[in-house]
């Protein structure tokens, strides 16, 4: 009997807020100014999504999301986060699977991303939150700009942007949403377990 229910969220956090912050700061410093380029790419993708749909645009957006998951898996999870979290390499594998699934969806030509209803506009807002607004969360949390989390480099914004885009799919591809939603849950737990107690 493992008595999992009496573990608190913090029991699973292996590192301190300071260590996590410094890891992201160092990661950002090594990759700058890639962050600015990625936010620009995300904004361009969001604008394209808001305009008339086309199969080429759909495939480009899905392919860009697949590339983003690959980057996060390799650059962040495997090369950085695994140094303080032994579970990060498992996450990297999961993200690679997500990238493959998105690539497959891009190749199949069957996924149409359209903004038609109020709910779709809400989904687009979620995608914008992940793609462009997420770095501002850093300021909201009172942390240094140097540790801002950017789409295609960190799992949180990448997952949010993916969820927003995939909710625009007609019909919605539920299986593609599993990993991004899991990541959103993990990021929320991290926020709850690390940042809010320190606020």
């Amino acid at each position: 009997m493992n008595e999992w229910w009496n573990y608190r969220l913090r029991s699973f956090l292996l590192f301190s807020l300071r260590t996590y912050d410094r890891l992201i700061e160092d990661y950002n410093a090594q990759l700058w100014p890639l962050q600015a380029v990625l936010v620009a790419v995300a904004v361009a993708g969001l604008l394209a999504l808001a305009r008339q749909p086309s199969p080429a645009r759909n495939r480009s957006v899905l392919a860009a999301l697949a590339a983003a998951w690959c980057t996060v898996a390799w650059l962040f999870e495997h090369q950085r986060f695994a140094a303080i979290n032994w579970a990060a390499d498992y996450a990297a594998l999961l993200f690679a699977v997500q990238a493959l699934a998105l690539s497959w969806a891009a190749l199949r030509r069957g996924v149409a991303l359209r903004v038609e209803s109020a709910l779709d506009r809400l989904a687009l807002a979620v995608a914008a939150l992940g793609g462009a607004v997420y770095p501002l969360l850093t300021a909201w949390l009172g942390r240094s700009w140097a540790r801002a989390e950017v789409f295609a480099l960190m799992p949180g914004p990448t997952a949010l942007a993916t969820v927003g885009c995939l909710l625009l799919a007609k019909p919605v591809r539920k299986r593609l949403l599993v990993v991004p939603l899991l990541v959103c849950g993990f990021e929320g737990a991290l926020l709850w377990g690390l940042y809010l107690p320190a606020a």
Binding site: M1, E3, N6, R10, S11, L13, L14, F15, S16, R18, T19, R22, L23, D26, R80, A83, I84, N85, W86
Partner: protein, 310 residues
């Protein structure tokens, strides 16, 4: 002043030259460290300082060079204050590697009492994990190996006992935290020839007093206690209040010393393992092993004071 190089001067110079190796060795002797209070491991009689050093979260700093240097400073201050036991686990991210680097940097591999854990399933992967851990620490062998959170203990413990019989580890133990699986801990303490049990014990969590401590004394098992500050939560609460008058009588200048002195003055406790990233905090913690200790009545008073504040 000029030196006359007569026969006497040459003889003096010769005497100094002959004595040089002894003088140099004397100069290189480490400064004697203060003697902290110690408790014996019942199965061997070997004595350990009552305050050790944990590494959960605090030493998991990844590749951050500045943070690693800070961890080495903490270890240096720990040994300088007479500390010996450092505890880690393969579960603690980069902690083992950081400890290994620190031990090498400060040349303390011969001083440390190396306590680590096996934490892997299936248990057939245990020996490989232990070898990886040993390599990361950079020690010839572990002093203590514990089954972390009882994971696969039925399979791991016989292997650890074999290692002990072969001289590849000196002590064998089991661990839990926050009062989990106490019935199973008790069962193992009764049925297995373990040397050490590690449990949570603090001013806010005294569950181990009920059955674990009496059983440990009865069975001659050393007790390592973790989470003396409840991962900092206890101190964050207490630090909003002034120290009670009893603290002065016990020469406690901080809530950390107060909380730690309460833990290590419990007669069943062999060693407590607070974790920290700060040199001033490790010094403060080590001070709990010195000065007057509370008797039973004072311990009850210490707890009563804190109970009012929690």
């Amino acid at each position: 002043m000029s030196i006359r190089w007569d026969r006497r001067a040459w003889l003096r110079l010769g005497a100094v030259a002959m004595a040089w190796p002894a003088l140099r060795a004397a100069a290189q002797q480490p400064t004697p460290v203060p003697a902290s209070r110690q408790r014996a491991i019942p199965s061997s009689g070997e004595r350990l300082p009552v305050v050790g050093l944990g590494s959960w979260i605090t030493f998991n700093v990844g590749r951050d060079a500045a943070a690693r240097a800070q961890c080495a400073d903490v270890m240096r201050a720990f040994f300088a204050a007479g500390g010996r036991l450092i505890d880690s686990s393969p579960m603690y991210g980069s902690s083992q590697e950081v400890i290994g680097e620190g031990l090498q940097r400060i040349g303390a591999r011969d001083v440390v009492f190396a306590a680590d854990k096996v934490w892997v399933a299936p248990a057939s992967r245990g020996p490989a994990q232990i070898e990886t851990s040993r390599r990361l620490w950079g020690v010839p062998r572990f002093d203590l190996l514990q089954v972390h959170n009882l994971l696969e203990w039925k399979e791991h413990l016989p292997r650890l006992f074999e290692m002990k019989a072969a001289g590849r580890v000196r002590y064998v133990g089991i661990t839990t935290s926050e009062g989990r699986r106490m019935d199973e801990i008790e069962q193992i303490m009764r049925s297995q020839p373990i040397d050490v049990v590690q449990v949570t014990y603090s001013l806010a969590d005294r569950r181990a007093e009920e059955r674990i401590f009496p059983l440990a004394r009865e069975r001659g098992i050393a007790v390592i206690t973790n989470r003396p500050f409840e991962q900092g939560d206890l101190l964050r609460t207490l630090q909003r209040h002034r120290l009670p008058p009893i603290a002065a009588a016990l020469q406690c200048t901080s809530w950390a010393q107060y909380a730690l002195k309460f833990v290590v003055s419990q007669p069943a406790v062999t060693c407590a393992i607070p974790a920290t990233t700060r040199v001033d905090h490790v010094r403060e913690n080590m001070a709990a092993g010195f000065g007057p200790w509370p008797d039973d009545a004072q311990r009850r008073a210490m707890h009563a004071q804190v109970e009012k504040l929690l």
